[in-house]
Amino acid sequence: MRGSDAALGAAGCAVFVLLGEAVPRLGLVDEDHFPPACRIAGALGRELSDTAFWSALGDTLTGWALGLAIAVSAGVVAGVVISVVPYLREVTASTIEFLRPIPSVALIPLAVLLYGTELRSVLLLVGYAAFWQVLIQVLYGVRDVDPVAEETARSYGLGGWARVRHVLWPTALPYVMTGVRLAAAVALILAVTAELVIGAPGLGARIAVAQTSQAVPEMYALIVVTGVLGLLINVGTRAVERRALAWHQSVRGEVAV
């Protein structure tokens, strides 16, 4: 089953690449704007042997990872505190509902004003977008704590901190993992967007440069790289999720008994 799925997926990819080659060659689209697949592949090869490309990739990953790390820690701490402190959830609910839907890109002018094209601009945008993903999941996860589990912990004399650690946190963890996975994807989008629009160093800035200098195949090659990056991030976070939640219903079937 799995093997045939993978084979079908590979076949689909191959057809897509062939189309990308054939359609421009047949003159169905303008070759200057949609170069054939083999020219994109060639450009990709040139990029991979260019040190400037690797440092741009490093910049993007730095912005992504730092922003994500800040957002996840802040989201988890804020989520747990809001849930544990009495009345804090009610007090913060409407503020959260107001701030959350603000698209991170709307903060670009603010970021430029504050930090110019520095890494901190990217971190602000990435952090803001990823923070809400984590916070909302933590808030939902904490609400899922089973009252019987909570009473069990209390009856055995577990104090407040021990209950957060042994009951609340493990209950919320599946939600936290979902939040981190969503946040990781959003963080990549925002990192590239920030670089593209603000000009902070990274893959996004490199795409903008390729576009303005009419290096169309290079531009596509860089877009392919960002796509692959997104794919790897998704696969990676799923793997982490599976390891951390080996006990949980959603992945239980795969645990060796």
Binding site: V148, A149, S155, Y156, L173, V257
Partner: protein, 256 residues
Amino acid sequence: MLDVQGLHKVYEGSGRRTEAVRDLTFSVAAGELVCLVGPSGCGKTTLLKCVGGLLAPTAGEVRLAGRPVDGPPPGMAFVFQEYGRSLFPWMRVGQNVELPLKQKRLSRQRRRALVADALESVGLADAAGAYPWQLSGGMQQRVAIARALAYEPEVLLMDEPFAAVDAQTRAELEDLVRRLWRERGITILFVTHDIDEAVYLGERVLVLSASPTVVREQLKVDLPDQRDQLHTRVNPRFAELRTRVYEQVQAAKRGR
């Protein structure tokens, strides 16, 4: 050992006011096994949670060894009606049993010994490495009992612990509780809605009335100390006692 004085509990909230327990007064001597029976919804769980310090009574008082209970007391363990939800699915069986011991700050060596001993006495010595959800319902309930035992409580509160297991397992678990009680000299307050179970297990049976709840009758079970499923249940005295309790529970349901 355990004194309940004029216990009164009213649930209030979301526009509804429920008087779960009206006025309960009884006491349990050290090392005694007392069974509580009463119709469904009469406030047995509420009573047990007040005794266990998980709920604050509206009026009245619970005293354990002379001291008033105002939070979960250290020497008390609780086995919940919903045992499946009371075990933590993210911990293996051994870790579930061990967690309360960590809170007691026992040494690692001592904890290991207690966990192994408790699992051994419920017949689950080789299940320590499994997750609770890999076990059957009866096995899960035995893990919950093992966790309470390892805690070395002076008082054990059990809330309809065998309601959800099959008759065979139930008989085994009943004998297990009797044996552990005799071996360890724990004070046990056992809630059930099963009249046979109450008479078979208890030294004394308290029959509660329907809500609003008071103690309707106290019955001493004068059956021999050595009980077993085959002979005790056909003992004429057993039949008399269960008839007596049955009548009381029926009358309680009719509300007289």
